[in-house]
C-alpha cells in the first residue's frame, strides 16, 4: 500500500496480515482530504434534535448555513430546531467583539419564540476574539428565566468527538433540573438515537410492548422538559456510543443510573437490546414479552428476507461511517443477508470498537480509521466490493465506481432501525446492488 500518506499507515490494517492494533483517536493530518468534520459539527448534531429549544450559532454566517436543516432528525411536535439562527458576525464584530450582538439576538428570539431552553454554539473565531459567551448566557438566563446554555464548540478545539463531549456537557446542565416527576416502575432514557426517518418511533413501540416507559430520548424528537427529568429513569440505554457515552457515564456517577450499550441495527443486535433491557429489570413477564415480540418479528422477518438473501449471497460490501460501533452492527446485518464485509472504517471510532470490529470481521478485511476518497476508492477496487455503505460525501464516489450504495448516515430516507428497519435495509441494499443501472457501466 504505497499510495497512502505515509503517516497514515498505522490507521489502516488488514485482518490476518497485520498483527498490530489499529491506531485511532488521532488528529487528521494537515493536507488530507479527510471526510471528518469539526468540534462544532459534533456538538451541533447531538443537540440539534431538541426540537423545542432555540439553537443559536454565534459566528460568521457559514456555520449556520451549512447546518440548516440538513439532518433528518424528525420531531413529532415543534419544528423550531429546523430554523437557522445566527449572529452572522461581520468584520467590525471580529474587531470589537460580538457579545452585544449575541445578547440582543437571544433576547429577541426568546421573546418571539418562547423556547423552553436555548443553546448558544460558539464557533471558531469566538474563542479567538475573546467573547465571553458564558457571561452573556448567564445574563440572558437571569433576564428571561429560561436556561441559556453555552456550547463552547470552537471548531479547532479537537475533533468531532470532542464536540460530542461538549454537547453532553450542555445536556447534563438540563438533566436533573426537574425533580417533580414520578416515573413508572420500569423507565429508561434512550441516548444516541437521532430519530432519523422516524426510527425512534419504531423503538418506542417495542419498548411500549415490553411495558417500559421512555422518559426521554435526548437526541431524537427531544424535548427540554423530558431531559430535565431524565435522571428519574432507572436505566440509560445507549446507542451510537461515540456521541453520547460521556453523558451516560456522568449520569452514572451523579445519579447512579446504570447504562448499557446497544445497537438497534440488524436482527441480532435489536433482539439483544430488548433482552438486555428485560434482563436488567429482572422481570419475568417483561422477558416473556420480549421473547414474544422477538419471536413474532423474526418469524415474519426471516422468510421475508430470504428472497433478498438469495440474490445477495456472496456479494461484498465496503462500509465507511461516522462511528465504529455502528459499523459492527452493519457487518452483522450484512452477514444476515449473506454478504461479506471487505472494507470497514469510520471517521471517529475508538480502540475498543475497532478491536471488536477486528474480532468480528473475516480474514483479509481492510479496517481503516479517518480515511479519504483516494484510499476508499483504492480499497474498493482492491477488494471488488459490490456495495458501499456511507454518507453524503461517499455516495457520488461509490456511484462513479459503479457500486451500489446505501446511506446509513443522517441522509437516510428509510428507517433502518428495528426489525422493520432490517427489512428496509435488505430492500435498499438489494435494490441498489442488483439494480440494472450498473450494467451500463463500461
Amino acid at each position: 500500500m504505497s499510495n497512502y500518506l505515509k503517516d497514515r499507515e498505522s490507521q489502516i490494517l488488514t485482518k490476518g496480515n497485520d498483527a498490530a492494533e489499529i491506531s485511532c483517536d488521532k488528529k487528521s493530518l494537515a493536507g488530507s482530504v479527510s471526510q471528518r468534520a469539526c468540534v462544532f459539527c459534533g456538538s451541533r448534531v447531538v443537540l440539534y434534535p431538541i426540537a423545542d429549544a432555540l439553537h443559536v450559532i454565534h459566528g460568521p454566517v457559514g456555520c449556520a448555513s451549512y447546518t440548516w436543516d440538513i439532518r433528518g432528525s424528525l420531531s413529532s411536535g415543534p419544528q423550531l430546531h429546523r430554523l437557522s439562527f445566527t449572529t452572522d458576525l461581520k468584520e467590525r464584530d471580529v474587531v470589537f467583539g460580538g457579545e452585544k450582538k449575541l445578547y440582543h439576538a437571544l433576547i429577541e428570539l426568546i421573546d418571539k419564540h418562547q423556547p423552553k431552553a436555548a443553546f448558544v454554539f460558539s464557533t471558531c473565531i469566538i474563542g479567538v476574539i475573546g467573547d465571553d459567551v458564558e457571561a452573556v448566557c448567564r445574563q440572558v438566563t437571569k433576564e428571561k428565566g429560561i436556561d441559556v446554555i453555552p456550547v463552547m464548540s470552537e471548531g479547532f478545539n479537537g475533533t468531532k468527538k470532542d464536540g460530542y463531549k461538549i454537547a453532553c456537557g450542555a445536556l447534563s446542565k438540563l438533566v436533573g433540573t426537574n425533580n417533580d416527576y414520578t416515573p413508572s416502575k420500569y423507565s429508561i432514557n434512550i441516548l444516541g438515537d437521532f430519530n432519523l426517518a422516524g426510527e425512534l418511533w419504531i423503538l418506542a413501540e417495542y419498548y411500549k410492548k415490553l411495558g417500559v416507559e421512555i422518559i426521554s430520548c435526548m437526541t431524537g424528537d427531544g424535548r427540554v422538559e423530558q431531559i430535565r427529568r431524565a435522571h428519574k429513569a432507572s436505566l440509560n440505554v445507549v446507542q451510537c456510543s461515540g456521541s453520547i457515552m460521556h453523558l451516560a457515564k456522568e449520569m452514572k456517577e451523579k445519579y447512579d443510573i446504570p447504562f448499557m450499550k446497544v445497537s438497534y441495527f440488524g436482527i441480532e443486535d435489536m433482539s439483544e437490546a430488548l433482552y438486555e433491557v428485560a434482563k436488567f429489570f429482572k422481570d419475568d413477564e417483561m422477558m416473556a414479552k420480549a421473547r414474544e415480540l422477538v419471536t413474532n418479528e423474526i418469524s415474519k422477518l426471516l422468510p421475508a428476507l430470504q428472497p433478498y438473501r438469495q440474490k445477495l449471497e456472496g456479494k461484498k460490501a465496503a462500509i465507511y461511517v461516522g462511528g465504529a460501533f455502528k459499523a459492527i452492527s452493519l457487518v452483522k446485518a450484512l452477514r444476515l443477508l449473506g454478504m461479506k464485509t471487505v472494507v470497514v472504517g469510520s471517521q471517529t471510532g475508538n480502540a475498543e470498537d475497532y478491536k471488536l470490529l477486528k474480532d468480528l470481521c473475516d480474514e483479509g478485511t481492510i479496517i481503516v480509521d479517518d480515511s479519504n476518497p483516494n484510499e476508499l476508492s483504492e480499497f474498493v477496487k482492491l477488494t471488488g466490493a459490490n456495495l458501499f455503505i456511507g454518507g453524503v460525501k461517499e455516495r457520488p464516489i461509490a456511484h462513479k465506481l459503479g457500486l451500489g450504495f446505501c446511506d446509513h448516515n443522517h441522509e437516510r430516507k428509510e428507517a433502518l432501525a428495528g426489525y422493520v428497519g432490517m427489512m428496509n435495509f435488505a430492500k435498499e441494499v438489494y435494490a441498489s446492488v442488483t439494480s440494472p443501472v450498473w450494467k451500463f457501466v463500461k
Binding site: 469539526c38 460568521p60 454566517v61 456555520c63 448555513s65 461581520k90 471548531g155 476518497p373 464516489i397 462513479k400
Partner: protein, 460 residues
C-alpha cells in the same frame, strides 16, 4: 406548517440573521478553484469548514468534490497555522499530486493573523513546491461579504498569479464567468464558438462537476481552465466579465497587471442581458454576430410571445446572488411580470440601486433588500403580508413554497433536492427558453391542480 414560527409582522432586526440567504466566502473560493484544471482547493482552517463545503457542493452536484484542509488544532489557533499549511503542501503534492493547490483562508486563520502569502513563499523557499507545480492563495474571511465574495477573491488570485503579458497579442477574448452552473459555462463556450471566437473561460466547472460515469473515480477530471490558458489571458484582446460581484475584481486585476481592458456586463440571463453579452463578445473579439445566434434569439422571443398571457402581472419573489438576480428580474420585467420581493444576503449598496432602476418604472411597489438581515425569514414575512404567484430561488425556498402553496422554480445555489441544473443551462437565449419552460410548468401545474372541474383545460 414547517415555518409556523414565522410571524407576518415585519420587525427590524439588528443582531440576527434567521434562515440566511447566503453562506460564507470559502465555499465560493472552493467552487471557483474546482473550475481550474488539475487544481485541488485547500481550506486553511478547521476541518469542519472543508467538510461542510464539500458536503454542500456534493449535495448540489451529486459529484465527488475534492478539497484538502489544514486541520487546525488548538495549537494552531495559538501559534498560527503556518506549520499546518507547510505540512499540508508537502502532503498534498506527495500524495494527491495536483498541478495547482488553491489555498483559501477561513475566519479562523484570518482572525489569528495568518499571512497566506508569506507562508506560501516560505513553502517555496523551503523547496516544498515541486518544479512545475503551483500554490495560489486567496484571502477569504467568512465574516466579510458572502460566498460570492470568496468566488471573486479566488478568481482574482488566479489571474494575479498566473496571467502574464508577453509581447505577442493573441486573437482571443477572456470570459470571466459569474457564479453559474457547469451547464451554463458549457453554454457560454458554445455561444462563443458559434461566433467563431477564441476565448478563455475562467473558471470552467464543466467536465469537472458534471462528469460522465465510466466506472472509475478521477480526482482531477478532464475539465477546468488550464494553467496555460490562464497564463495566456494576459495577452488577450479584451475581457468580458459577467457579473460585478463575482468577476469585477479579477477583471480589474487583469487590466492592472497585463493591460487587458475589460467590459463588465451581466450574467447573460434573459433576453436583454444576453443581447448585451453577445454585443460585448462581438465588440471584444471584433467579430460579427452570426445568423444562427439571431435565430436562437428569435426562438426565445417566439416562446415569450406565444406564452405571454400566462405571465403578465404575475407576482414573483426571488432570492439568490446579485449577479444572477439582476438580469433575472430584468427578464421578468420585460415579460410584464412583477418581481415584487428580491432578497440577497450578499452585501453591496449597488445591488438595491440597480434593482430599483430595473423595477421602479413597472414595479414601483417592489421590495428589495440585500446584506445584513436580508434573509429567508424576512422574505417569508413579506410573502405573508401579501402573497406572490411564483418563487424563484435555491432549495431553501421549499418551506415557503409548501407552507404557502406557491409554485416554485429552483435556481441558484444550493439546489440540493432536484437535479437538472448541472445539465440544462439557463444562460443565453436558449437558456431563457429553459427558464420560461420551468416557470410556465410551475404556474400551469398549479392551475391544473387547483382549477375547478368546469374550468379545467386540456389545451393551455
Amino acid at each position: 406548517m414547517l415555518l409556523r414560527h414565522t410571524t407576518s409582522e415585519v420587525k427590524e432586526r439588528k443582531a440576527l440573521t434567521v434562515n440566511p440567504a447566503k453562506t460564507c466566502q470559502p465555499v465560493g473560493a472552493m467552487y471557483a478553484a474546482l473550475g481550474v484544471h488539475g487544481c485541488l482547493p485547500h481550506s486553511h482552517g478547521s476541518q469542519g469548514c472543508c467538510s461542510y463545503h464539500r458536503s454542500t457542493l456534493t449535495r448540489h452536484y451529486k459529484e465527488p468534490v475534492m478539497a484538502a484542509t489544514s486541520s487546525f488544532t488548538e495549537g494552531s489557533s495559538v501559534f498560527g497555522g503556518q506549520a499546518n499549511l507547510l505540512q499540508a503542501i508537502d502532503n498534498i503534492f506527495g500524495i494527491y499530486d495536483p498541478d495547482i493547490i488553491a489555498v483559501h483562508s477561513t475566519c479562523l486563520s484570518e482572525t489569528i493573523g495568518d499571512d497566506l502569502g508569506q507562508i506560501v513563499k516560505k513553502a517555496q523557499d523551503d523547496g516544498k513546491i515541486p518544479e512545475g507545480k503551483f500554490v495560489v492563495q486567496a484571502s477569504t474571511p467568512s465574516y466579510v461579504g458572502s460566498h460570492v465574495t470568496g468566488y471573486a477573491n479566488m478568481l482574482e488570485a488566479f489571474v494575479k498569479y498566473f496571467s502574464f503579458k508577453t509581447d505577442e497579442k493573441l486573437r482571443q477574448v477572456n470570459m470571466l464567468s459569474g457564479w453559474v452552473e457547469p451547464s451554463d459555462m458549457r453554454e457560454l463556450k458554445r455561444i462563443a464558438g458559434l461566433m467563431k471566437l477564441k476565448t478563455v473561460l475562467l473558471p470552467d466547472t464543466s467536465d469537472v462537476l458534471d462528469t460522465p460515469m465510466d466506472g472509475t473515480y478521477k480526482m482531477y477530471p478532464k475539465g477546468g481552465t488550464t494553467r496555460e490558458e490562464i497564463v495566456s489571458m494576459g495577452d488577450s484582446m479584451k475581457t468580458v466579465a459577467m457579473g460585478e460581484w463575482a468577476t469585477k475584481s479579477a477583471a480589474v486585476a487583469l487590466d492592472n497587471k497585463c493591460k487587458v481592458p475589460f467590459e463588465l456586463t451581466d450574467v447573460p440571463i434573459g433576453l436583454k442581458a444576453t443581447d448585451r453579452f453577445i454585443q460585448a463578445l462581438s465588440t471584444a473579439g471584433k467579430v460579427s454576430i452570426p445568423e444562427c445566434i439571431a435565430e436562437e434569439r428569435g426562438k426565445l422571443v417566439d416562446v415569450i410571445t406565444d406564452m405571454h398571457q400566462y405571465l403578465y402581472g404575475k407576482r414573483v419573489a426571488l432570492w439568490g446572488d446579485p449577479d444572477t438576480l439582476l438580469p433575472m428580474i430584468e427578464f421578468l420585467v420585460d415579460m410584464d411580470m412583477k418581481p415584487v420581493y428580491v432578497v440577497s444576503g450578499t452585501p453591496g449598496k449597488k445591488f438595491s440601486a440597480r434593482a430599483m432602476e430595473i423595477l421602479e418604472a413597472k414595479v414601483p411597489e417592489a421590495k428589495v433588500r440585500n446584506g445584513a438581515s436580508a434573509d429567508m425569514f424576512l422574505m417569508h414575512q413579506w410573502i405573508k403580508e401579501e402573497p406572490v404567484d411564483l418563487l424563484i430561488g435555491n432549495t431553501y425556498g421549499k418551506y415557503i413554497a409548501r407552507d404557502e402553496g406557491i409554485p416554485f422554480v429552483r435556481s441558484g445555489f444550493p439546489i440540493i433536492d432536484r437535479i437538472g441544473h448541472s445539465y440544462f443551462p439557463t444562460v443565453g437565449y436558449l437558456g431563457g427558453i429553459r427558464i420560461l419552460e420551468r416557470m410556465l410548468s410551475a404556474i400551469m401545474d398549479k392551475i391544473d391542480a387547483t382549477s375547478p372541474e368546469e374550468s379545467f383545460e386540456l389545451t393551455m
